[in-house]
């Protein structure tokens, strides 16, 4: 199982864990956040956007959010993608 992780448990940060999936398995996103009701949808959209930009179609994403702003979520996701092997995951 190829997986990666980026981010910390600190305030205003998030941990993003990725697990590469088989071709065709698609994208699974799991979000744990104290502000899920207010920003859960937005976080999901941001993740989908970045995955699309990086041409990744088969991955499991787990977000453990501690009220991170957009820029942190994107940065952590991009870092996790790089650590997973980046372009190797292209669909």
């Amino acid at each position: 199982m190829i997986s990666s992780k980026a981010g910390t448990e600190e305030k205003n940060d998030c941990i993003i864990e990725l697990e590469a999936l088989e071709k065709g398995e698609g994208i699974e996103i799991e979000i744990e956040s104290p502000i899920k009701k207010q920003f859960g949808r937005h976080i999901k959209e941001t993740i989908l956007e970045v995955l699309k930009e990086r041409c990744i179609s088969n991955v499991k994403v787990r977000v453990t959010d501690r009220k991170a702003l957009d820029f942190s979520i994107r940065a952590r996701l991009e870092t996790a993608i790089d650590r997973l092997g980046g372009e190797r995951l292209e669909a």
Partner: protein
Amino acid sequence: MYVPGNNPNMMADCMIYGADVILFDLEDSVPLQEKDAARYLVEYALRYLDFSNTEVAIRINGMDTPYWEEDIKKIIPEKPDMIRLPKAETKEQIKRLNEEISKIEEKSGIKVGNTKIMVSIESAKGLKNAYDIATASIRLQAIAIGGEDFTADLGVKRTREGNELLVARGELVLAAKAAKVDVIDSVFSDVNDEEGFRMETEKAKAMGFTGKSVINPRQIPIVHDVFKPTEEEIQEAIKITQVIEEAKKKGSGVISLNGKMVDKPIVEKAERVLELAKTLGLVEKVAAC
């Protein structure tokens, strides 16, 4: 003000405290295994956060590491105001850095030369080459001293009084003045020792430093207070600019004020004083002279 490039919490808020320059750090405050993460955080911070009038600089990793090239590749396209190079030792380094930045600027459609550089001198060798370093590129705006690493290089302890760095500071100021660049003093790590910080800042100003690096918002008002021009200096500067204006209108060649000649260095000093006064909110916008 230094802000660690891998701390999203501090990065989000850093611009509200009145620092003249925010310095995101990719170097010493970021552990090796997080260099990649910090790069992304800084890249996106530049892209998504609003810094309004505050300048943003990035301290990249030293050119003796494998990280600096990736650092500038990622960061320059986001148009930071300045790159800070630590551990500068030779003018060749500066020339190389300049070239690499230019390549990236061109590739990204940014005006070549847009990104400024400042360097930190942290070794005796660097200090010996300070003037050459300071004149190695038109991008270079300022040289600074990295106190901790410098004392390590000298093999001595860093003290509150700072006598061990007296010569280094003095020489750095000389090099900066000769090269006509700004010169920035080192950080003071004991955030709770406000008196010690003020003393060190006053000493720096007296020696000719034009600014100081800080690591905590509490230190900002002290720096501004120490470096602010006095009321007399401001009034004098205003008078000088007025005299210049009048002389220009009349077309006269020699300008004097109170029986003294007003030549170029005096005019430049007056301009600097007013610029500083404006930044600190001590005067209304002054009519350009």
